[in-house]
């Protein structure tokens, strides 16, 4: 019966990963990505791999969204500056 929780976690991860790929806007993609990170950490926990889960949590919760959002901000600012210069 312990397989039920593994199944639920697997389905959620598959859904979140597909949704992350299907998004077009990078900022919205980062939002889905951070949810996917937490879901992956839960999946690793139910598969009895808490070390990997901790790595995923540490990287996926803050670091990846911060890097993606900073890149988005830089590109948007550059676009705005170019438009202003014209």
């Amino acid at each position: 019966m312990d397989e039920a929780v593994i199944l639920v976690a697997l389905l959620l991860v598959a859904g979140a990963a597909t949704a992350a790929v299907a998004q077009r806007d990078p900022a919205r993609q980062a939002l889905v990505l951070s949810v996917l990170g937490v879901l992956l950490a839960v999946l690793f926990t139910v598969l009895q791999a808490p070390d990997v889960g901790l790595s995923q949590l540490a990287v996926g919760a803050v670091l990846t969204p911060l890097l993606v959002m900073l890149s988005v901000r830089k590109i948007r600012r550059r676009g705005r500056d170019r438009d202003g210069a014209r």
Binding site: L57, L67, L70, K74
Partner: protein, 246 residues
């Protein structure tokens, strides 16, 4: 090479990969089995060396050489980022305006920052006892510092983050890992062999021989690497502007 030929080549490679994967899957042991030949041996080896967390024993003792490779990959990746994201000749730095953050959020950031720092160090120090270790704890420690950017502004973060020190620490930590490996070589055993230090009492902070030391080296490396990486991204996103636009 024509488009058609490339597609055929791709199909051929894909079919080969699919066949190999299917053949490998047929030979896999059953899902969630109790016994595993490698697992049993790894647990046995980690228990003889008084390391409570078998994963830490695999990462920093039985396969410490692999971890050296991973550490150097992170080091090289951050080095590449520093080179790519440096301030170019046609760019200049503009000081951003100070941010106004709501008081509860500012208080939360200042309150949670020390808690997060302690948690990061806890995860590094208990790597050989419970899930966690240098990588996980290092990332948490580095993230904790950036609460100052989120709760105040970039200028506040810059004041507590001497970048040169973190860059030096990054390199020194990788050297520390190498030196620990070479020390085993000097003592007459193999590179990175866990024979230098007494194994200590099982399930205490000082158990596991060199595992806690290697954990600490990796923790230092990861924490400073992430700080340097984020510093370059933040500089680009917040401070550096192109000359022509200004």
């Amino acid at each position: 090479m024509s488009r058609r030929l490339r597609l055929w080549l791709l199909a051929l490679g894909g079919a080969g990969l699919a066949a190999l994967l299917a053949a490998a899957c047929l030979d896999l042991p059953g899902f969630g089995g109790r016994a595993h030949p490698y697992g049993t041996r790894a647990v046995h080896a980690s228990l003889t060396r008084h390391t409570a967390n078998t994963i830490a024993s695999v990462n920093f003792d039985q396969r410490a050489y692999d971890t050296l490779g991973e550490t150097s990959i992170l080091f090289a990746a951050v080095l590449g980022c520093v080179v790519l994201l440096r301030q170019a000749r046609d760019e200049h730095r503009a000081r951003p305006e100070p941010a106004r953050v709501a008081l509860p959020v500012r208080r939360y950031a200042l309150l949670v920052m020390p808690v997060a720092l302690v948690c990061g160090l806890y995860v590094i120090a208990h790597g050989q006892l419970s899930p966690g270790g240098g990588f996980q704890g290092g990332v948490v420690t580095a993230t904790a510092l950036h609460l100052l950017y989120l709760g105040a502004d970039y200028h506040a973060l810059e004041r507590i983050r001497p970048l040169g020190v973190f860059e030096t620490t990054d390199a020194l930590a990788v050297c520390a890992y190498l030196v620990l490996g070479l020390a085993a070589l000097l003592a007459g055993t193999a590179f990175l062999a866990n024979t230098l230090l007494p194994y200590g009492t099982f399930n205490t902070l000082s158990s596991g021989g060199t595992v806690p030391l290697l954990n600490a080296a990796v923790g230092m490396e990861v924490a400073s690497a992430v700080v340097v990486l984020l510093a370059n991204f933040l500089d680009q996103a917040v401070e550096i502007e192109e000359e022509s636009a200004g």
